[in-house]
Symmetry: C2
Subunit: 341 residues, 2 copies
Amino acid sequence: MRGVMMYGPGDVRVEERDAPEIVEATDAIVRLTATCICGSDLWPYRGAEPLAGTPQAMGHEYIGVVEEIGADVTTVKVGDFVVGSFVASDNTCEICLAGYQSRCIHNVMMGAIGTQAELARIPLADGTLVATPGQPAADLIPSLMAASDVLGTGWYGAVAAEAGPGKTIAIVGDGAVGLCAVLAAKQLGAERIIIFSRHPERQALAKAFGATDVIEERGDEGAARVKEITGGYGAHGTVEAVGTQESMWQAINATRPGGYVGYVGVSHGVELDGLNLFFTSVHLHGGPAPVRQYLPELINLIWDRSIDPGKVFDLTLSLAEAAEGYRAMDERRATKVLLTL
Amino acid sequence: MRGVMMYGPGDVRVEERDAPEIVEATDAIVRLTATCICGSDLWPYRGAEPLAGTPQAMGHEYIGVVEEIGADVTTVKVGDFVVGSFVASDNTCEICLAGYQSRCIHNVMMGAIGTQAELARIPLADGTLVATPGQPAADLIPSLMAASDVLGTGWYGAVAAEAGPGKTIAIVGDGAVGLCAVLAAKQLGAERIIIFSRHPERQALAKAFGATDVIEERGDEGAARVKEITGGYGAHGTVEAVGTQESMWQAINATRPGGYVGYVGVSHGVELDGLNLFFTSVHLHGGPAPVRQYLPELINLIWDRSIDPGKVFDLTLSLAEAAEGYRAMDERRATKVLLTL
């Protein structure tokens, strides 16, 4: 089967590799309908993060049809269309039952498997995959694809930021996750949704998703603007969807004392000074999103066409064109690239 | 009037200084019945933190009798016995109404006033002071004194750690705040309360306050012990009541993914690596405790003799003996020193 391999910074190739096989009785093999390129895939692409292996199989987002199941799998069957999280989880341990499947005591990061491929082995299939009500119409594919990571991650960020009725929620980051956080904040009932963005297309999509205010300033200046338009108080909650030192403090400082910062951008070079943090009095919560927790609800919202998170994909290519997809995202010609099979 | 002045590390003197006067119509003057020495007073005493002035008036904890009120003060009257928070607050702004009086938009840190003295000017008296139901019996003085800071701070830590029925709560720090956090976790219904402590007397008081488990190991080893005795998961919530790099990570690593860390130790030299924090998936919340929020409830619990947090004072001296009080706390001969007037 064919899959995406990264040989080093800027060097992505689509190559033949061995088809996966059932290893554990809890595994499933999924034939992918679509996969995509994540903002986090750009860190090694830009040399900002080392590769786990050379070459490294890439990708952790996936939707598709169950091709084979292990002897112990009971909740999905061959032929089911499934969406899975980017972290495999047993969904039975105390951590999973508390809603933190991404930190399951038996968690497997799907990035270690590489789902930018024709087939993928999904560990802990019962606790990881959710079947859709039937075979999806073609127009639902991008949104279901988004549910596998960026939508679930933006959703988690908005939940961690305590988005809800009457609340003002700010979102740092206008990438796919930030835009999905806007959509999530809107669904969760937020009254005012502030997006930080300098890109006209992303501003437009943010507004379509429910943003009420756009701020173009960044860093301390951006945080000060939020305070300015919220009576001096700051946002009730802020989603951080970038992962840099500047974006973290922008999010923290945009938030009022006692408010909530949901941080879902994978941290790169972030160091939080304890004393400064202490005197912000914010709630800080984040990490890898427990997408599995939200999947049943998100699939329903997509199936009913209540939400259309697939709009974050602004470039669709075939798996064979993956290298061009990485280039387009790296050069910011695309926000998020869908790869079809 | 006499008050405590710090001239530099290790140099504490009780001196005559001008009696405070009403400055704003919202002020009150309180004649102190008792004050105390805080763990945070030891940072400048040890030279680990610069003084705000030389000399600096010390102290931010206080109980006593209202001697005079400004023209706008309505909720306390001359002669009332009052307990106040270590942060003055208007108790009417959005931040106060959300329960974060310590971060009131008009907050005044009482440390800037110096309450280790015979009299103190309390700004924003209506929003800061709470009158007790009457003049307290002598045996209630230490507990009411504790409510002004250490009890309210420990309580906030336990609330931030989401202490409640069925929960396992760990507490890092066996000083007065940590011990009060044990008491708070017990009052809030926690099932299992783990105290990290190597001091027999403090272990005994922690047990009297409700601790069920004592761990003598510190740092990573201490955190590992918590995981060991909680089925590999970690505590549901942990209170951090020290403020060092080691104690913060001990608290974070003792907590399960999705769990809650309430940090109330004023940070000294703490730097949190963003990526490590990201993958812990804990909720992190803390800062200066909004003691004012809890005062009415804490005063009632003390008045009813349901709780006895005054036990954290293991040395009582007169104000004139303040220098000996600082020495005793610095040398760890005392956990917490009460100064009477």
